[in-house]
Symmetry: C2
Subunit: 278 residues, 2 copies
């Protein structure tokens, strides 16, 4: 999916919601556990219920790998289902991969070619040759971790480092250095909603790039603050909610509850888009 197509979807649906597909076997409604592939059945129901209110889906690979071979199969079926039935939705493999060049190329093959996701999240620690093999896949995206939503982000990401003329935080250096590796057409960044006030500084370095923002909902980030500091003229935001939508209901009506929750978030997003004239 191109940047322009993504913007078009946001404008049409009046939403920049990304639904995180993190199916936890201990939280999936019990009636699904009797099916052959509870994870896929859960995802399918969530997708069918929420698709009109969101523009993206983001399965996190950890929740599939935890179920071994069966889990990888659920992931394959989920992305195939999305690509077949909802080709207008942007898909994100939240895999946080990154390795030396020939190895990153294998991960790129796995997620962007074989599974055919639109994008993959990548960890920046190993630098340019660990990221570039992903950027080399045509019509696909890298979403690079910059400032994550968790407490541990303060261990290294916000450390002050010495730059040429000024001091800079590590995550700012990650943005500064990596923006030369790709373009706003194939590179986005992860910035946690729990650190929304830092978005203003980030937008000075990265005015045009899309930002994938986790941490709204269960993790406590504020949608209002993220929009205030992070929205640009094309919206430029994909805001993820996982647990808040997936586990809005615990019974057989879980998909209806998820739909209601997604709709509430979409209504709020619509207001911010209207207000910004997008």
């Amino acid at each position: 999916m191109t940047r322009q197509e993504l913007i078009q979807q946001i404008k049409q649906k009046r939403s920049f919601l990304c639904v995180g597909l993190d199916p936890d076997m201990e939280k999936i409604p019990s009636h699904l556990l009797r099916t052959e592939d509870p994870v896929f059945e859960f995802n399918k129901a969530i997708i069918d219920a929420t698709h009109e209110y969101c523009v993206a889906y983001k399965p996190n690979s950890a929740f599939y790998e935890a179920n071994g071979l069966k889990g990888w199969n659920s992931l394959s079926k989920t992305i195939a289902y999305l690509n077949l039935n909802y080709p207008d939705h942007f898909t994100i493999a939240d895999a946080k991969r990154g390795d030396i060049g020939n190895t990153s190329a294998m991960y790129a093959k796995a997620f962007l070619q074989e599974l055919n996701f639109d994008s993959i999240t990548v960890a920046p620690y190993m630098g340019n040759d660990s990221v570039k093999p992903f950027l080399q896949v045509k019509n696909k995206w890298v979403i690079l971790l910059a400032l994550t939503s968790n407490e541990g982000a303060y261990d290294f990401q916000t450390r002050v480092i010495s730059a040429e003329k000024e001091t800079r935080k590590l995550y700012e250096q990650v943005l500064q250095t990596s923006k030369e590796w790709g373009t706003p057409e194939n590179l986005m960044y992860v910035v946690g909603a729990t650190k929304a006030e830092m978005l203003a500084e980030i937008r000075k370095i990265m005015p045009g790039h899309f930002l994938l923002v986790p941490g709204v909902g269960a993790q406590g980030g504020s949608l209002a603050d993220v929009c205030k500091y992070g929205m640009n003229k094309d919206c430029g935001l994909l805001i993820n909610s996982s647990r808040g939508i997936l586990y809005a209901g615990k019974g057989e009506d879980f998909a209806d509850k998820a739909k209601e929750e997604a709709k509430i978030i979409r209504e709020e997003m619509k207001a911010y888009l209207d207000k910004a004239g997008i």
Copy 2:
């Protein structure tokens, strides 16, 4: 496997070699491609041929995920084969994972419990709560990326950051901060052989921890330099070779060639252990 058991293995085998199991479908000998699971057959032959000369095996998850479901099956079979037949070998899931706490816990389940590896490589960028779920699994190890073997290591890892009283490089800060998270009994570090001269500095911060050292062989690192700067009184090193051993031969005798190559490295390692009185 405990630290003491690992040291015992090194002393007995006179080797601190780790064989990286990175089976590339384009490099696997062609006669294996006719078998049902070429990757597993390749690994099995490599393991059987090299086990007396090494103390550890390290499959990199990228090379399995690139083959999708079939690849994950090959990985499962490989670790099961190792655990059943060579329980004295230390096993490393080279997965470079790391995510927010509840997600890292899922990766820990996948690799340390379900697949039952002794250890997993973890990326430090997301900080303490992304690493701790792995450390909480009893009798298992985290191998944290510190200074990697690739060119991109110079993008961020060697950046000078501001610390309390002194300046420090990012990877040194990673060592300094993270050593409080675990102990030399459950925490190792990845330090690339291509930056062997930095090992002397690293040993000042981390005298006791084991270091997993990739980059000898195809990537150009020197075994002599790594031993000179990185060995401690318990050896404290696991030196990985992947491509140099796996693809030493291209024909039906690939396992014999791999054995010869592993034996050559072991002979060199034996000399360094003898010299150090270990």
